[in-house]
């Protein structure tokens, strides 16, 4: 069966050769950035030990760099940055609401359980 219902919007996605050069340039830039971030993470992880006093800072740096990488993958590689604003919201807002709540509740409960375990051990 011919799915002509899909065609029209998909045709909008076409772009010219010149635009293609521009897009590829952006892709290569993001590639270099992601590679650099990964190298920085590995060097930090290999050099700084977890019992070092600076470790908490490194830990938060890892989290920040991870979010940065994830942002570039979603916005550039998955083109979410080029989609309509409301599509972005429909994808991201429910996700963040659920995940932030889950993180909060899991850490809260884990702390409570740990205090009980410590009490009885």
């Amino acid at each position: 069966m011919e799915r002509d219902d899909l065609i029209e919007y998909s045709l909008d996605a076409h772009h010219s050769e010149e635009k293609g050069v521009e897009i590829r340039k952006k892709i290569y830039k993001v590639t270099i950035l992601l590679t650099l971030v990964t190298i920085i993470e590995v060097v930090l992880g290999a050099v700084i030990k977890q019992d070092a006093s600076i470790w908490p800072l490194v830990k938060w740096t890892f989290l920040a760099l991870t979010i940065l990488k994830a942002g570039y993958i979603v916005m550039v590689f998955m083109h979410l940055g080029d989609e309509r604003k409301w599509l972005r919201y429909v994808i991201l807002v429910p996700y963040f609401i659920f995940i932030l709540y889950l993180i909060f509740i899991a850490l809260w409960e884990a702390t409570a359980i740990k205090s009980v375990l410590n009490f009885f051990s």
């Binding site: 992880g45 830990k59 890892f62 993958i73 998955m78 995940i99 899991a106 409960e109 702390t111």
Partner: protein
């Protein structure tokens, strides 16, 4: 992107007068699927965080656990997993280049970049297989339980095993047989079962053999769980020198089962608490399964590209949709990498 709704009647659009967010049905549904899948992975990683947070034992540290490289041996913290991450990022880049070529209706370009993506995917799955192999088999020294009840990881330079010479016959081996195959495996099995005493190994068939082995050096014990004497506190957790050697051989030659543990399975592992290996197997396994199915989907779509199916259709949206899935797999790995290996 830019919608041109004016020219379209209701039949052309999916049901209503206008398509939500000017996106095709397929792409939107792919996004919804990815949101639900991302919640699954989010749930798994948060469960991992939960377990780690309320664990009373010391949790394994990435750079201590994953430090081997193919052909090079041990002592390369995080290098291999960095390479895996790099492979996956590059295959994500080749995928986005395939999508870009599709937007220009460049069939050759799409084919080229899709094949590159598939190769990258196979490399990643293969690397993960190697990683699992190493994780399951463990290090040369393993983890030991010391006489005072404390538990320590052992690091150092493992002296090569040359052969076993049979001194007491069993079901298969005769006196004087020299065994030269599968030495490490046999050694570790016997050690875990408590079948090695000072220089003598009891084999599966009940025969006994002397071990010809170069000496180990630079032994270092990292105490992971405190006992009566040895503590896992920050200042005292490392034991080196003659004391480390004495404690290690004491455990190795104790004749008791499970004083030395090598590698990991679902019951015990040398790296730390039991749940650690279970989470490792489940989360990296689930991700690896996603990568594998991604490669299969990519192959199917690539065949469609080569056959000219999408060219005839006038657009390469199928490549874009599989691309979304493939990037998602990369995205998940970024998080797995951080939570399992870095933190």
């Amino acid at each position: 992107m830019a919608g041109h709704t004016a020219a379209l009647d209701s039949k052309t659009l999916w049901g209503g007068k206008i398509s939500p967010f000017s996106t095709s049905y397929g792409k939107l549904m792919m996004w919804f699927f990815l949101v639900s899948d991302a919640l699954t992975f989010g749930g798994l990683l948060i469960a991992y965080g939960f377990t780690r947070h309320d664990c009373l034992e010391a949790w394994p540290i990435g750079e201590e656990t994953f430090n081997s490289m193919p052909f090079l041996g041990h002592g390369y913290p995080l290098l291999y997993v960095a390479l895996m991450t790099f492979i996956l990022i590059i295959s994500s880049v080749t995928m986005v280049l395939a999508v870009e070529a599709g937007h220009r209706m460049d069939r050759k370009g799409v084919t080229k970049w899709m094949i590159a993506t598939i190769i990258g995917g196979f490399f990643f799955v293969g690397s993960q297989g190697w990683e699992w192999y190493h994780f399951i088999h463990g290090s040369e020294f393993g983890k030991i339980e010391l006489a005072d009840g404390s538990v320590a990881l052992v690091r150092g330079h493992f002296g090569e095993i040359k052969n076993f010479t049979v001194t007491k016959p069993g079901k298969h081996h005769k006196i004087g047989d020299v065994i030269k195959e599968d030495l490490m495996h046999t050694f570790q099995h016997a050690a875990a079962a408590g079948h090695i005493t000072n220089g003598v190994i009891t084999l599966h068939d009940g025969s006994e053999a002397t071990i010809s082995k170069a000496t180990d050096h630079d032994l270092k014990l990292i105490v992971k769980k405190s006992g009566k004497v040895n503590k896992a506190s920050k200042a005292k957790r490392e034991i080196t020198g003659a004391k480390a050697e004495k404690l290690y051989y004491e455990a190795l030659y104790s004749g008791e089962a499970n004083r030395v543990i090598y590698g990991a399975n679902l019951k015990q592992n040398e790296y730390g608490p039991q749940q650690y290996a279970q989470f490792f197997f489940f989360i990296t396994g689930f991700h690896g399964f996603h990568v594998f199915s991604g490669v299969v989907i990519n192959i199917i779509i690539c065949l469609g590209v080569v056959a000219g199916t999408y060219h005839k259709r006038g657009h390469y949206e199928m490549v874009e949709k599989t691309g979304l899935y493939w990037h998602f797999v990369d995205l998940v790995w970024v998080f797995v990498f951080t939570f399992f290996y870095l933190l």
